[in-house]
Point group: C2
């Protein structure tokens, strides 16, 4: 997506049958500039950009943009929903169980491979969401140094 200029955004909104409002423009721009951002943080940043926005409007804008396919919403366990503007490229996410860091990874298998499960049960599938769970390099290192000489330990949840 990665659009920058307002005129582009105006056209984009119109194409999708959406009215153009300062709130929506700011929300879309903010997510575009800050991948994997929470709704709360969007509100904060938008406020620095246009002065004020209600929490509800942030949710409204995010919701309608996700509906129209301009944004994507991912929701890791134990974290509020995250939004990003990379859509339609079937990329996946790598999330650290400890610090919650999120990174993009391109699809391992090729082009939208996961859209065809072994047995679709008659579902009309439109998206495959893949999340790799693990520990990021930093948290791995921290844990190893902490466990030095300690006994076996169950990984925390």
């Amino acid at each position: 997506m990665y659009v920058a200029m307002s005129t582009d955004l105006n056209a984009l909104f119109r194409q999708h049958g959406l009215q153009v409002t300062p709130q929506r423009l700011a929300v879309l721009r903010t997510v575009a500039g800050n991948p994997h951002i929470t709704a709360d943080r969007v509100a904060e940043l938008v406020r620095t950009e246009i002065g004020a926005i209600s929490r509800q409007s942030v949710y409204n804008a995010l919701g309608v943009l996700v509906d129209r396919g301009l944004l994507r919403r991912i929701q890791p366990v134990g974290s509020p929903a995250l939004f990003e503007d990379r859509v339609n490229d079937n990329h996946h996410h790598l999330i650290c169980r400890e610090c919650g860091r999120v990174e993009d990874v391109d699809c391992a298998v090729g082009r939208r491979p996961c859209l065809t499960p072994s047995d679709g049960r008659g579902y009309e599938i439109d998206e495959a969401e893949v999340v790799y769970w693990g520990r990021c390099p930093d948290c791995s290192a921290r844990r190893e140094s902490r466990d030095e000489g300690a006994g076996i330990r169950q990984p925390g949840q």
Copy 2:
């Protein structure tokens, strides 16, 4: 997993260093008998089985069982966490965007394939969660009959 008899469960708990309590037994049995169940519903069902359980105890039991790998927690967007007792078989989920129905699907690509993304960024990956989003056959049918003769419509969220 699919254990049914209490003696089996007792041993299972002990193997994992857990004390055996009526609450935990009931929670595990309930999830085993009701895949893709929410914590709230677990509480309801457990109450019909053993009379009473606190909300906190349900969360405690579910948490410890997930920690020990006896249960798995999945958390779809817009839904509370769901629990199931199929673990260690790397199966995935098919979720209907409209009615929220959840179904299991076996992994398309083979054995734990998604544990190796194209670029792991140094993460220690221990799980890959795959969710196929779409519309179940029922909701598809309902929608088609509703759209008969109507204009093009954006899919709702």
